[in-house]
């Protein structure tokens, strides 16, 4: 009986795994989280995957044309070119030095160009603005922001 039970279990898990594998693995169902600096350093690792990349807008690099925009995302001294395809609306908080999160994929032919369909940006708060002025575009600042964030917004709503 035990053998039959385990055979059945293995069949169930096997068929589930087969379903997952044959419907495209985890490529289309998960978003890889990455820092802009890592994407620049190891583009091959991130090629062909859906990405959510975080970094800061490099001051003076935003070039808008209609709904679309080009800009450079910077983090820890590494620059990543981003092309926003106008698929969604750019938030009005999207300005120079703003912390941003871009969802998209690396362009297949051009090395190191992120084609983003969604860009979320945060407005640097008054208390945070000093860091932006000093040109602090490091991942340490993200951590500091996360710690600050906990105070004003309260906790997770659920």
């Amino acid at each position: 009986m035990k053998t039959r039970f385990w055979v059945l279990m293995i069949l169930i898990i096997g068929s589930l795994a087969a379903m997952v594998i044959f419907t495209g693995g985890s490529k289309n169902t998960s978003v890889m989280l990455a820092d802009a600096s890592h994407v620049v350093d190891q583009p091959s690792k991130y090629q062909e995957h859906e990405l959510r990349v975080r970094g800061f807008v490099k001051p003076g690099t935003i070039l808008r044309y209609g709904d679309k925009a080009d800009f450079v995302m910077t983090l820890d001294g590494r620059d990543l070119k981003v092309h926003f395809d106008g698929g969604t609306q750019l938030p009005d908080t999207f300005t120079d030095a703003a912390p941003v999160r871009a969802d998209g994929r690396l362009a297949p032919d051009t090395a190191g160009l992120l084609v983003a369909n969604k860009v979320e940006a945060k407005c640097a708060s008054k208390y945070e603005a000093d860091y932006a002025k000093k040109g602090d575009f490091t991942s340490a600042r993200f951590q500091r922001m996360a710690a600050d964030e906990k105070v004003p917004g309260g906790d997770h709503p659920k």
Binding site: F5, L8, I12, S30, Q89, P157
Partner: protein, 835 residues
């Protein structure tokens, strides 16, 4: 002494009482139990492997030294304290737990009073309340934030512990371990509340702040008032059955006598957790404005995992009790259920998984996760060490028997928990591994599709087993009971599956697009299967009930209604359980409707209307129409307007919430538009917001839909306040930081919901989306609503996006939720359980 000091004193008193209770329980425990506390698992396993017995065992030698010292200390202490016997210590431990419940309640009450008073020296009050809040939200705000909710958690824990300890008074000699488990857990929470700044509810600022930051606007909803307490009760009460199970195991009294108490507490915990989850769904649907009720969000998953484990436990407990099988498995499940409840608390309260990309950590995260890890290892030892006592009385004979199907279903639930766990932790731990460019693993965030792809097939299979299991017989395989039990439900299920497969295209309009439910074909196949299995399950339940009723009518001469009520009343575990199954069927049917869900974005162009003299709103009008499915949506007025909370001062910028408010007419195709003229002297805003006629309200109540029905959706922008200066937080360019919240509207009938939510607003000419909340604030305060500013600040033409969802069968989810609550209540209420 101020209230903050009084509250903190209560917490200190509570900590002292808990410590005292732990000490007294240790003193009252038998030597054998003390020995089992310090057994070392690797030694035990090594001894078992080498088949050593008695004094030759390594573990015995190790514990012997400690225990002999403890015996002397214990004897001296008992003599010193003047106790007649060790049981006096146990009585004191019990009394300390009772008094502690009172101390924790006073601390909780003190925090509520501080919230209502608006004490601006208290850190928690400043970060979670403001003067404009309704008193209702001031009280409930006491559990809206991290430290308040931990105190609330602690308060529930101490209260429920007192009840459990009271219930165990007859068995006190066997239950010292119960005191120890509960007091140990209480200690962790009171320790965090005293020691970690994030968790201190009575922490004060050196000087009073100028203003409170307000309650997160999303939490200002009726569901949020009852949802968290219910969910907490569910989480917290899982400690009680766990403590009972462990004390039974440690006292080595594994006979069946404890099952009723264990089961009753597990049902209690399971019921509250389930109701809490369903209420949370309802809140998310009504408040978050994204047209859905479940998003596999870490916080939702955190509550689903213990719920699934408890469901699995409740079913194996039946098998353990009836057939003496799966005892080990049952104990393992209660251990997992409790630790997953704790893990859920950790996920929600530590902040680790709040924003998948923020990686922020609160200070209580570490002690809590360490406690979970240590506690899991500590108690897992007992289950492993006592495994011989937990051996089944007999072997499982066939998989298609009642017990076999329950075991299989159990396995599926555990598999679900495992899948969800991987999904929850993949943004934190690099679990997403690939082989395409050498072996590499990275952090990733699972999309809905990732969960659905596994959970939908598992769910459908679970549903099938849930339907089949009651029809199977103990020890017999399915073929032996086919004719008697399975034939009719199975035939009905198959017929309906075929019929629905042929007809569903006429009933629903599949979008043909891939969605979060998977590719359209797969989603439709699973929804057809769900409908078929649902019919099979319902037919099975009806068959079971009709047999039970017939039997009572023949045997006892009752009429059908009496027989029905007595069936549930006398054997509620079985027949009440079937009602829960029925509610799950409705939930699944509602979820299956999701595969025919449709989402459309509509852009409407609006023109600025002249300023109405004396009114403060900025008015736009569209008149454009758009279509989805069988509906016509006509955009009407759009306003930028002020919105004030219950106790707001309308001249205080801190209380000034800006709203974007859009009105629509929703008609089924073919309905005629009804034109009503605005009466003289009524502002456009008042006219748009006029109360519907009584007949329309009655019609909406009955059908959920009014022809030519008016719908209104809003976005509110709440100011963020900097408490030190009592001003609104502003960015460098002077813009106020505001938190946007959504106010969707829905028209709900049994077939489908039309759910709308206003999205972003663009300046049509410049193609930018200006910060209208900021502009409106500027217009309102700086320019005092002057007509020139009205003309110059607001663009003449804007484009506003409306998101529309057509959600079929959502009503069935709420129907299933209500049924779950009622049938769960039948199971929880203390009557009708045969002794």
């Amino acid at each position: 002494m101020n209230l903050n000091q009084i509250g903190a004193a209560f917490l200190l008193l509570s900590a002292a009482l808990v410590t005292f209770s732990i000490f007294m329980s240790l003193l009252g425990m038998s030597i054998r139990q003390i020995r089992s506390l310090i057994r070392f698992l690797p030694f035990e396993l090594a001894d078992d492997f080498r088949k050593l017995r008695g004094r030759r065992r390594l573990s015995h030698r190790m514990s012997h030294a400690v225990v002999s010292v403890w015996m002397i200390v214990r004897r001296r202490l008992i003599a010193l304290l003047g106790f007649r016997s060790a049981s006096v210590a146990l009585d004191l431990a019990r009394s300390a737990l009772y008094v502690n419940a009172a101390a924790a309640s006073f601390a909780m009450f003190t925090l509520m009073v501080l919230m209502v008073q608006g004490d601006l020296t208290n850190h928690y009050v400043v970060t979670h309340s403001s003067a404009d809040l309704h008193i209702f939200y001031l009280i409930t705000g006491a559990w809206a934030g991290s430290s308040g909710s931990l105190l609330f958690w602690y308060f529930i824990l101490t209260s429920l512990s007192a009840v459990a300890v009271y219930q165990s008074r007859i068995l006190r000699n066997r239950m010292p371990f119960l005191f120890l488990v509960l007091a140990g857990l209480q200690f962790i929470f009171v320790f965090m509340g005293l020691y970690f700044s994030d968790a201190q509810p009575f922490r004060v600022f050196p000087q009073p702040m100028k203003a409170g930051q307000g309650l997160n606007p999303l939490l200002q909803h009726w569901g949020m008032i009852i949802h968290p307490p219910i969910l907490y009760v569910g989480y917290v009460s899982s400690a009680i059955p766990f403590a009972i199970a462990m004390s039974v195991l440690v006292s080595r009294n594994t006979r069946n006598a404890f099952y009723p108490l264990l089961r009753r507490w597990t049902i209690f915990s399971w019921f509250f957790l389930g109701t809490g989850i369903l209420l949370g769904s309802k809140w998310a649907y009504e408040e978050l404005g994204w047209g859905g009720y479940w998003a596999w969000d870490p916080v939702e998953n955190a509550s689903l995992m213990p719920f699934l484990l408890m469901t699995a436990f409740l079913h194996t407990a039946i098998v353990s009790e009836q057939r003496g099988l799966l005892k080990f498995w049952t104990m393992l499940l209660i251990l997992l259920a409790y630790h997953f409840s704790m893990l859920g608390t950790w996920i929600t309260r530590s902040g680790v998984l709040q924003g998948p990309h923020s990686f922020s950590e609160s200070s209580i995260g570490k002690p809590l996760i360490i406690y979970i890890g240590v506690s899991f290892y500590f108690y897992l030892r007992y289950i492993i060490m006592e495994r011989k006592r937990l051996r089944p009385d007999e072997e499982l004979q066939t998989i298609t028997s009642k017990e076999g199907s329950m075991l299989l279903n159990n396995f599926l639930m555990l598999l679900s928990v495992f899948v969800i766990l991987i999904g929850v932790f993949s943004p934190l731990i690099p679990l997403d591994c690939r082989f395409d460019d050498g072996f590499s693993c990275s952090k990733a965030e699972w999309k809905l599709t990732a969960y659905n792809r596994i959970m939908i097939p598992v769910g459908v299979l679970t549903l099938f087993l849930m339907g089949a299991s009651p029809l199977f017989a103990w020890k017999k395989s399915a073929d032996q009971v086919y004719v008697k039990n399975l034939r009719i439900p199975l035939i009905l299920g198959v017929v309906v599956t075929i019929a629905f497969a042929l007809l569903y295209g006429k009933m629903f309009k599949p979008s043909g697009e891939d969605s979060a439910w998977g590719s359209s074909l797969v989603a439709e196949v699973f929804s057809i299967l769900t409908v078929g299995i649902a019919v099979f399950t319902i037919a099975g339940i009806v068959q079971e009930y009709s047999r039970g009723i017939r039997s009572r009518r023949v045997r006892l001469g009752e009429n059908s209604v009496q027989a029905f009520l007595h069936l549930i009343g006398r054997n509620k575990r079985r027949y009440g359980g079937y009602l829960v199954h029925l509610s799950v069927v409705f939930l699944f049917l509602g979820y299956a409707g999701g595969s025919f869900k449709k989402t459309v974005k509509m852009d409407f162009m609006y023109y600025r209307m002249p300023q109405y003299p004396g009114s403060s709103e900025v008015h736009y009008y569209s008149g454009d129409k758009s279509y989805v499915d069988n509906y016509e949506v006509e955009a009407g007025d759009l306003f930028f307007a002020p919105y004030f909370l219950a106790n707001a001062d309308q001249n205080n910028p801190l209380h000034f919430v800006v709203t974007h408010e859009a009105h629509y007419q929703l008609r089924e195709k073919g309905d005629r538009a009804v034109l009503v003229e605005r009466p003289e002297g009524m502002t456009p805003h008042a006219f748009a917001n006029r109360a519907p006629a009584t007949n329309e309200r009655i019609m909406k109540l009955l059908t959920g839909f009014i022809p030519g029905g008016h719908m209104k959706t809003e976005r509110h922008f709440h100011p963020q306040i900097y408490p030190v200066t009592g001003e609104i937080q502003r960015s460098e360019d002077g813009r106020a930081n505001r938190i946007p919240t959504s106010k969707p509207d829905m028209r709900s009938s049994f077939a489908e919901d039309i759910y709308i939510q206003l999205g972003s607003i663009q300046d049509a000419r410049r193609k930018t989306n200006p910060d209208f909340a900021h502009i409106y604030e500027f217009y309102y305060f700086e320019f005092q609503k002057s007509p020139e500013a009205y003309q110059q600040l607001f663009p003449p033409v804007i484009v506003a996006t409306l998101e529309v969802w057509v959600n079929p069968l959502v009503k069935l989810i709420w129907l299933g939720s209500v049924m779950f609550f009622l049938s769960g209540l039948i199971l929880v209420l203390p009557y009708g359980e045969r002794k």
